[in-house]
């Protein structure tokens, strides 16, 4: 990056550090920070959507839909995250390829499972074997988003299910007395009111989601923890221009600060949101706000 980085052995102090922290490898570390933030930005709303779908299904009057919603929430909440991430993603990927295989090359003579191998025809590969690396990475990233959304969606579904039931029954009855249909009651009264009950649970989930991002590397996405471990490990002079002993403590220390700051900022935002949602609600918090204002 800087012009004088050609011979780092001759540098010392800040100049050395400046060159060291701008190597291609460090750029990958900074880039992976973006990956993690992007993952959170996409996963949180998607998981909320999944959760909303799950909660609505679990409350449905149609029995199969209700069973589906309850089963989804129960199964995903019951399976350990690691097992889910290791098993489910490979299964999901193979499932996609299996379907494409049957659609795209029905005349294929061999079976898909050959001993230990999972072999589909070249056209059915996802992504295609000759796609550039960024396509493979994007595909891996999207699989990760989907898996995170399914896992956290189940937890969010449980929270929202509880929140929907916490909305005072009297309010819904009043709405019904005004002649609103079931759909109108849900849209106009239930959903706007449930957030105040859901937010403590959801903010908890958000915190857990932030901390769960290192699971990304299980899915082959290189995240900040992977790069910190890789960069922090001892480096011998034969293989790098910047030899150093084991520096993982510093890298993980920086990660610690990053995660703490991130969760702190989240807490502040959640508190503000809570204050906003409590306004005028028939809860202890809403009552306290009213008294303070009066």
């Amino acid at each position: 990056m800087f012009g004088n980085c050609a011979d780092p052995g001759a540098l010392d102090g800040l100049a050395w550090l400046g060159c060291y922290l701008t190597t291609g490898k460090h750029m990958s570390l900074y880039g992976s920070l973006g990956t993690v933030l992007l993952l959170l930005a996409i996963t949180a709303p998607t998981a909320l959507l999944f959760g909303f779908g799950g909660a609505t299904a679990a409350r449905s009057h149609v029995a199969p839909l209700r069973w589906f919603g309850k089963t989804y929430i129960a199964i995903v909440r019951g399976v350990p995250d690691i097992a889910f991430f290791l098993f489910f993603v490979i299964a999901l990927d193979q499932g996609f390829e299996y379907i494409r295989h049957h659609v795209l090359c029905p005349e294929w003579p061999d079976t898909v499972r050959q001993g230990n191998d999972f072999v589909v025809c070249a056209q059915a590969k996802l992504p295609l074997g000759n796609s550039p690396q960024w396509v493979h990475e994007t595909y891996g990233f999207l699989l990760a988003v989907l898996t995170f959304a399914i896992v956290f969606g189940a937890f969010a579904g449980n929270v929202l299910f509880g929140a929907m039931r916490a909305v005072p029954r009297a309010q819904l009855e009043t709405a019904e007395a005004y002649g609103m249909t079931r759909g109108q009651v849900t849209r106009r009264v239930l959903i706007p009111q449930m957030w105040v009950y859901a937010l403590p649970g959801l903010s908890n989930l958000w915190m857990v989601l932030i901390k769960a991002t290192p699971l990304l590397f299980l899915l082959g996405v290189e995240d900040i923890v992977y790069w910190s471990r890789e960069l922090g490990g001892a480096k011998q002079p034969q293989f790098t221009d910047y030899p150093h002993p084991d520096w993982r403590m510093w890298y993980f220390g920086a990660l610690l600060v990053f995660y703490l700051c991130f969760t702190k900022v989240s807490e502040i935002v959640m508190d503000r949101l809570m204050a906003r949602l409590t306004l005028g609600q028939a809860t202890a918090g809403g009552e306290a706000q009213r008294r303070a204002g009066a």
């Binding site: 001993g115 590969k125 295609l128 001892a234 011998q236």
Partner: protein, 242 residues
Amino acid sequence: MKKLILSTAVAALAAGTAFAQDDSTVRLGTEGAYPPYNFLNDAGEVDGFERALGDELCTRAELTCEWVTNDWDSIIPNLVSGNYDVIIAGMSITDERDEVIDFSDPYTQPDPSAYVALSDGIDLENSVIAAQAGTIQASHVASMEGATLLEFATPDETIAAIKNGEADAALADKAFLEPIATSDAEVTFVGDDVLLGGGIGLGIRESDAELREQFNEAIQSMKDDGSLNTLIEEWLPGSATF
């Protein structure tokens, strides 16, 4: 509108099929944490003995290759499920692995493994020995009576373990330990070398016999004209040549 979407989908599908009929890229999976065999250089790219070897093999076999890094722990499962086509990660040929995947001809002679520790005079038979999980060294330590095996996900962590006193010694390929022992005054070789494994080969899916043949021919041609020996001398000084 529907027609438009449909025809776009058909076009995309057709394009995808057309692409796939071209010569497919061969994806090479490596660990990227095991110098001098494979590691990430300062630019974050795969480098080392196997980078030079893999690129040369692909040129000779007239294949388009692409490098991918993967955790050592899941390197075989990801090969068999088709996420890449070849493992080129300093993987020794053993019977256990051969049951799951196939190997090419070896491209190194059986390389000695060695112990490192902070001081001489360690009773290796009765001590705590660190090794990378899922390696021939780890199974060797597990088979030693009296010694306790301490496994780590990366080879680098085994060295960190002897430095912070968690383990008494670490066992790894000698070619990996050599640069560490020379540049780090604290760490020295102890005990005798042990010969493990049947040389290092490329790991290839059992159903991919054709690809294995192509690579075997390329390896043979590099053995014949001596270019493999040149690479071994350059990257793995002290290792036996062909």
